[in-house]
C-alpha cells in the first residue's frame, strides 16, 4: 500500500513550550491509526499541524505526494483532509442540513457572478448538495436525518459528534481526522460510533482514519496500529496489545509509582 500522509521530524514550539518534539510517522491508504496519550500530550496539536492551523516550527508534512507544510487550511481541505474537533465546533445557528452542506464547500464551485446571473445552475448545485447531505445523514447511527431542520446548536451531545463526522465526510476526504469522537457518548452510543467507523471503512476501502481517543473501547476496536504521545513525543507505536503493555505508556497514564506497583 502507498503512503498517504507522511510526517517527518515535525516540531511545534509555542514560545518555550514544545508541543510536538521531532515527531515522525506515516499512514497508508485505507488504514486506521489510533493516537492515545494523556491530556495535553500534543495530540490535538498534531491535527492542527496537519490541517494547517499551525505552521510547524520544523519538519515536513507530505500528503498524497504533495508538500502541505504550513499550507492554509482551506487548501489542505481541498486536497482531501477533513477533521472533527474535540469540543464540537458546529455552526450552531444553522440547520443540521446546512452544516453538512457547508462541509461540501470544496466540492462545489458557484461564485458570486454565477450565483447572480445563472441562478438555475446555482439552485441545481444546491439541490444536489441537499440530496447528498440527506444521504449522509441517513447513513450514520442516530436520527440526524429526522432532525435535519433543527438548529445544530439544539442537538444532544451524541448527535453533535455524529453531525461533526457527517460534515467532515461531506468533503469526500481521503484522510479523516477524528478528535475524540466518543466524548459525551454513553456505551451504546460509543458502540454505534465504532460500527459507523467500521462501516465507513468497508464502504470506502481507500479512506484513511486517524483517531484521537481516550476511550479504550474505541481504540480496542481498531487495534492494528496504535500510537502513544506524551510530552509531544512518540513513546510507543504498534498493535493495541503491545502498546497497552508498554511500561512507558503505563507510566504516562498512571504515573511512575503506579506503573511499577
Amino acid at each position: 500500500m502507498s503512503v498517504l500522509l507522511d510526517i517527518e521530524n515535525v516540531t511545534m514550539r509555542f514560545g518555550g513550550l514544545v508541543a510536538l518534539d521531532d515527531v515522525t510517522f506515516s499512514i497508508e491508504k485505507g488504514s486506521v491509526l489510533a493516537v492515545i496519550g494523556p491530556n495535553g500530550a500534543g495530540k490535538s496539536t498534531l491535527f492542527n499541524v496537519v490541517t494547517g492551523v499551525y505552521k510547524p516550527t520544523a519538519g515536513r508534512v507530505t500528503f498524497d505526494g504533495a508538500d502541505i507544510t504550513g499550507k492554509p487550511t482551506y487548501e489542505v481541505v481541498q486536497r482531501g483532509i477533513a477533521r472533527t474537533f474535540q469540543a464540537s465546533r458546529l455552526f450552531s445557528d444553522l440547520s443540521v442540513l446546512d452544516n453538512v452542506i457547508i462541509g461540501m464547500h470544496t466540492r462545489t464551485k458557484t461564485g458570486v457572478l454565477k450565483a447572480l446571473f445563472r441562478p438555475g445552475a446555482s439552485r441545481r448545485e444546491m439541490a444536489a448538495c441537499v440530496e447528498k447531505a440527506e444521504t449522509l445523514l441517513r447513513l450514520g447511527s442516530g436520527d440526524l436525518y429526522e432532525q435535519r431542520y433543527r438548529p445544530a446548536g439544539t442537538l444532544a451531545q451524541a448527535d453533535r459528534r455524529r453531525l461533526e463526522i457527517a460534515r467532515a465526510l461531506a468533503s469526500q476526504p481521503k484522510l479523516l481526522l477524528l478528535d475524540e469522537p466518543s466524548v459525551g457518548m454513553d456505551d451504546t452510543e460509543t458502540d454505534a460510533l465504532v460500527a459507523d467507523i467500521a462501516r465507513l471503512r468497508s464502504e470506502h476501502p481507500e479512506l484513511s482514519v486517524i483517531l484521537i481517543e481516550h476511550d479504550m473501547r474505541v481504540v480496542e476496536a481498531f487495534p492494528e496500529r496504535v500510537m502513544c504521545v506524551d510530552y509531544g513525543s512518540l513513546i510507543a507505536e504498534g498493535g493495541f496489545a503491545a502498546v497497552r503493555a508498554d511500561p512507558r505508556v503505563q507510566e504516562a497514564y498512571l504515573g511512575k509509582a503506579a506503573a511499577h506497583a
Binding site: T51, F91, D93, I102, V112, Y149
Partner: protein, 391 residues
C-alpha cells in the same frame, strides 16, 4: 416551519387571500405613518406597531402561517407587491414630501441590504458603507458633470469604482478582527469623507452642484410623469427608479443567500475556525462581502446624486454609516424583509418626530442599545433555510 409542527399548512385559497390581505395591511400602515401628523398621532401608530410585534412574538405561529402563505403562492404575493409598489404614488398624489421620504427610505433599504451581507450574513461590523455610498455618488456625479456622461452609463462605472474601494478596505481589514476591524472601517469612512471635503476636484465642502437629471427614452426625470392621464410629480420618476433598485438588491440578496456563498458567510459568522476546516477561504469571503456591499451601496449613491442634483461631503458622514447599521440591527440580521422594514421605520420615524431632531444621534444610540439588550435578533429574526418541498 422547520422543526415545529404546530403551524398547519395553509390551503391555496387561504394562502392567496392572506398574501393579498397581509400586504395590503402593511401598505395601509405605511401610508398611515407617512400621513401622520403631530406627536400623538405618531405615538398612537407606534403603539399599534408595538402591539403587532408583541403579538408576533407571543404567538409565533401567526408569523409562520403568514410566511408560509406568502411562500405558498409566490405569484400572487409578487403580483400584489408589484401593484402596491406601482400604485403607491397614485395614492400619495401630489404630496411630494411623502414621495421624497419614500425615495430616501428605499435608498436606505438598498444600503441596509448591502450592509446586511456583512453585518447580517458574515458578522463583519463595517462602518464604511456610508463611504461606499459617497464614492458611488461622487464618481457618477463627476463623470456626468465633467464628461457629460449619461446617468445610465455612470451607474455601472460608479459601482465598479466603489467595488474596487471595497476590495481596498477589505484586504487590510482581514488582518484585524471584531473591535479592531470596526475601528479600521470607521477610519476608512472618516478618511473618505475628509478627502471629499479637502480635495479640489470634488468641490471641497461645497460639494458638486447641478448634476443633470437622467432621462429615459426622451423622458426627463425632472419633468412630471404622466401615466394614463394621471400626472405624478417629478419625484415619482425617482420613486420608481429607487423601487427598481430595491428589487435588484432583493434579488441579489436572495440569490447570494441561497447559494453556497451565503452559506459560507453564515459559516464564518458562526465559527471561523470551523469554517476554515470546511475548506472555506475565510479571508477571501470577507473581502467578497466588502465588495458586494460597496457595489450595491454605490448604486444607491448614484441614484441619490442624480435625484437631489447636489451632493456634499455632509451627505456621507459617519452618522450615515451608523444609521444604516442601526437599520440592519433593528430589522433583523440576515432577514431580507426585516432589514427593509428596519430601513423604512428608521427613515420615516425620525422625520415624523421632528420635535426631537436635535437628539437624532441619541435616538439611534438608544435604539441600538435597547435592541441589543432586549431583542438582539431584531424585529424579524433570521430564518433557517428550507429546501425543496419541505416545510
Amino acid at each position: 416551519m422547520g422543526g415545529s409542527t404546530s403551524s398547519p399548512a395553509p390551503r391555496t385559497a387561504t394562502a392567496a387571500a392572506l398574501a393579498i390581505l397581509s400586504q395590503l395591511c402593511g401598505a395601509a400602515l405605511l401610508y398611515a405613518i407617512l400621513k401622520a401628523e403631530g406627536t400623538w398621532h405618531v405615538a398612537g401608530l407606534l403603539a399599534l406597531l408595538g402591539l403587532g410585534f408583541y403579538l408576533l412574538e407571543r404567538f409565533p405561529w401567526i408569523g409562520d402561517f403568514v410566511t408560509a402563505s406568502l411562500a405558498r403562492v409566490p405569484l400572487v404575493t409578487m403580483a400584489t407587491a408589484a401593484v402596491i409598489v406601482l400604485g403607491f404614488p397614485f395614492l400619495v398624489g401630489t404630496n411630494t414630501y411623502v414621495l421624497h421620504l419614500l425615495i430616501v427610505a428605499q435608498l436606505y433599504a438598498v444600503l441596509a441590504l448591502a450592509l446586511n451581507f456583512q453585518l447580517g450574513s458574515a458578522n463583519i461590523p463595517n462602518f464604511a458603507t456610508g463611504a461606499s455610498y459617497g464614492i458611488g455618488a461622487y464618481v457618477s456625479a463627476l463623470l456626468a458633470l465633467n464628461l457629460g456622461m449619461s446617468f445610465w452609463l455612470t451607474l455601472p462605472i460608479a459601482a465598479l469604482a466603489a467595488t474596487l474601494f471595497g476590495f481596498i478596505i477589505g484586504i487590510p481589514s482581514m488582518r484585524t478582527r471584531d473591535t479592531y476591524l470596526a475601528l479600521v472601517t470607521i477610519a476608512f469612512g472618516v478618511v473618505v469623507q475628509q478627502l471629499l471635503n479637502n480635495l479640489d476636484w470634488t468641490g471641497g465642502p461645497n460639494g458638486l452642484v447641478g448634476i443633470p437629471a437622467p432621462s429615459l427614452f426622451g423622458h426627463s426625470f425632472a419633468s412630471p410623469l404622466q401615466v394614463f392621464g394621471w400626472t405624478l410629480p417629478s419625484q415619482a420618476n425617482f420613486y420608481y427608479l429607487a423601487a427598481a433598485l430595491v428589487v435588484v438588491a432583493i434579488v441579489t440578496a436572495q440569490r447570494l443567500h441561497g447559494s453556497r456563498i451565503g452559506l459560507a458567510w453564515n459559516a464564518l459568522r458562526a465559527d471561523e475556525i470551523a469554517a476554515k476546516a470546511q475548506g472555506i477561504n475565510v479571508a477571501w469571503y470577507k473581502v467578497l462581502a466588502f465588495a458586494v456591499d460597496a457595489f450595491l451601496a454605490a448604486f444607491a449613491g448614484t441614484i441619490y446624486a442624480f435625484y437631489v442634483s447636489y451632493i456634499s461631503p455632509d451627505n456621507f458622514t459617519f452618522l450615515v454609516s451608523v444609521t444604516i447599521m442601526t437599520m440592519v440591527i433593528v430589522g433583523g440580521m440576515d432577514n431580507i424583509f426585516g432589514v427593509i422594514v428596519g430601513a423604512f421605520l428608521l427613515t420615516i420615524l425620525p422625520e415624523k418626530l421632528r420635535a426631537f431632531s436635535d437628539y437624532r444621534l441619541l435616538f439611534f444610540g438608544v435604539v441600538v442599545i435597547g435592541f441589543l439588550m432586549i431583542r438582539p435578533q431584531g424585529l424579524f429574526p433570521q430564518r433557517l433555510r428550507h429546501y425543496g418541498g419541505h416545510r
